[in-house]
Structure formats: C-alpha cells, structure tokens
Symmetry: C2
Subunit: 179 residues, 2 copies
C-alpha cells in the first residue's frame, strides 16, 4: 500500500523527487559541483541520504537525472508544416541548446551516469513525433536522423575546435531526406 502510494503521480514519490531535484539545483547555483555531496543534498531536501541512494544509486546518476529533467523539452517539436522544416527547426534548436553551458554540462553528466542511453531515447521520442506527422511520405528512420543530425552536433561540441555550421546542418537534413 505504501509502495503503491509512493508511485502515484503527485504522490509521495513525486514529492520526494521534486524536493531532491530542487535541492540539487539550488546547491549547484551556490557552489562548485565538485563539492556537492549526497548528505548535503539530503539535508537540503529534507530526506535521508539512504532515500537518495535507494532511488538514484549514486551522486552522478542523480546529477544526470536533474540535468536531463532540465534539458527535457516541455513542448512538442515545432510544427512548420513540412518534414524538412520540422527537421531543420529541431536540429537548429538542438544545436543551440547543446552548445549552451547547461547543455554541455548535461552531456557530461549523462555520460558519467549509469544510463547514458536514456539521452538518445529522449531525442528519439522527439524525432518520432515529427515523423508521425507525415505518414504519407517516405521517411528516414529515427536512428538515421540521430546519426545525421544529433551525432555531428554533439561531436562538434565535445571534440572539435570549430562549431557545426548551420549550412552543414541543413545539408545533413537534405542527406537524411534524400535516402
């Protein structure tokens, strides 16, 4: 009964999550992330450290969860009326968000967590939403779109001296559409 209640949306479980996430966000504004500890987060959130360990496993998983929640888009991808337009808009926004300091930090946090695959799952969900709008035309796969749009964006941010140019991003959209 207690467990069921804990999983109810808006119930105790959701309140614990919101409280812990808020504590992490507040602490990250006040101090360097390398100095944040689980006991500190627990005190601020009004829960025990074991609650955090039980739920998130470790600090890096919790930081990744907070980072993902922060970066998760709260709106549907823009609907421009065409697949090309939607993909361009999505890719440009993704490049923009990931290039920001919170975006870069999220990429680092997620890599350090135990479930980095969750990141590709979120992206895949957004791209699928776009594809579902155009059932009557040939469509690239979600994996192909991730390879052609998300991967070059993230690679350039993490490993290149130069940023990915919008023109190249548009050419990659064309390549995805022409296959």
């Amino acid at each position: 009964m207690a467990i069921k209640e804990g999983l109810r949306p808006g119930g105790r479980s959701a309140r614990v999550q919101e409280s812990v996430h808020s504590a992490v966000r507040a602490l990250l504004e006040e101090q360097d992330r390398a100095t944040v500890t689980v006991p500190q987060i627990a005190t601020r959130a009004g829960v025990t450290p074991s609650t955090i360990y039980r739920r998130w496993g470790d600090l890096s998983a919790l930081l990744a969860d907070v980072a993902l929640a922060r970066m998760r888009p709260d709106t549907e991808p823009a609907d421009t009326g065409s697949l090309r337009g939607d993909l361009r808009a999505w890719a440009e926004q993704y490049l923009d968000e990931m290039s920001s300091e919170p975006g870069r930090q999220m990429l680092r946090d997620v890599q350090c967590s135990a479930t980095p695959g969750f990141c590709a799952t979120i992206i895949g969900g957004q791209l699928q939403t776009i594809l579902d709008r155009y059932p009557d035309q040939p469509l690239p796969s979600v994996d192909r779109l991730i390879n052609l749009l998300a991967a070059p964006t993230v690679f350039s941010i993490l490993f290149s001296a130069a940023a990915l140019e919008i023109e190249e991003l548009h050419r990659l959209v064309e390549m995805a559409l022409s296959q």
Copy 2:
C-alpha cells in the same frame, strides 16, 4: 641553450615526456584513476611536480595527453586501392578502437582536457591521408567525413543503448561518396 636542447627530439624534453607518460601508464594499471595525483606521478617519473604543471597545466590535460598518445595510430590508414574500401576500413577500425575500454576512457579524458579539438585534428589528418590517395576523383571534405563517420560512432558509444551497426556505417560511407 638549455631550452633549445630541451626541445630537440630525443633530448631532455622528450625524455621527460616519456618518463612522465610511463609513470602515468604504470600508475593507472595499479590503482583507480580517481586516486592518481600529480605528486605521485612526479615521484614515479623522477621529476618535480612543477615540471608537470609547467608542461601540461593540470592533471586532466596530462591524462588526456597520455590517452591520445596511446590511441594515436602508429601506422597509416589501410590502403585498399579504392576510396570506398579505405573509408570502410578506417571507419570500421575507428568504431572498433573507440568501443574498447581504452577508447572510451580516451574519449572521457580528452573531453575533460583543455584541448578537445586536438582529437578531431588527429582524425582529420588520417582522413586527409586517405583523400590524398585519390586526387583524380570527386572527394567529400574531411569535415563531412568526420560528421558522417566519426560522429555517429562516438555518439553511439557515449549516448546510445545500442552500438552502431556495421551495415549503417557502410551506408554512411555511401552517403559520403554520393554527395
């Protein structure tokens, strides 16, 4: 005079580098990387900590330098007689190496260093070597090859639940050749 001598290949500078790199490699085999310190490396290498700080800046830059040196290919990219064959061979080897545990660790170390762009520079040099073999045919740019071959490989390793399939890698080679 001392400085000149220090920069001579095989001179004092090269000996310091080799000694420090060896010390890092040895320590990383003995203990967890999170516990390795600059003073420890200095003691093992027979140099002062300030020599390390002066030359590499900080520990993460030194770890990245060692990781890059380890991953830097000591041979030219395979010459199969065709651009398609060379690119396939390069992409398959890159996927293979980056998926290995030393490869993953290198990706992490390089991101934490001050000069992550150096990674793309090494890859770019290898791809340029391949392109230079085929001066009489239309060629994709090095940046395009990095976007289509290296980026999806690294993205899948760092952020996806599933590995990049060889078949998809081959299709990406075809897309690079058909533009």
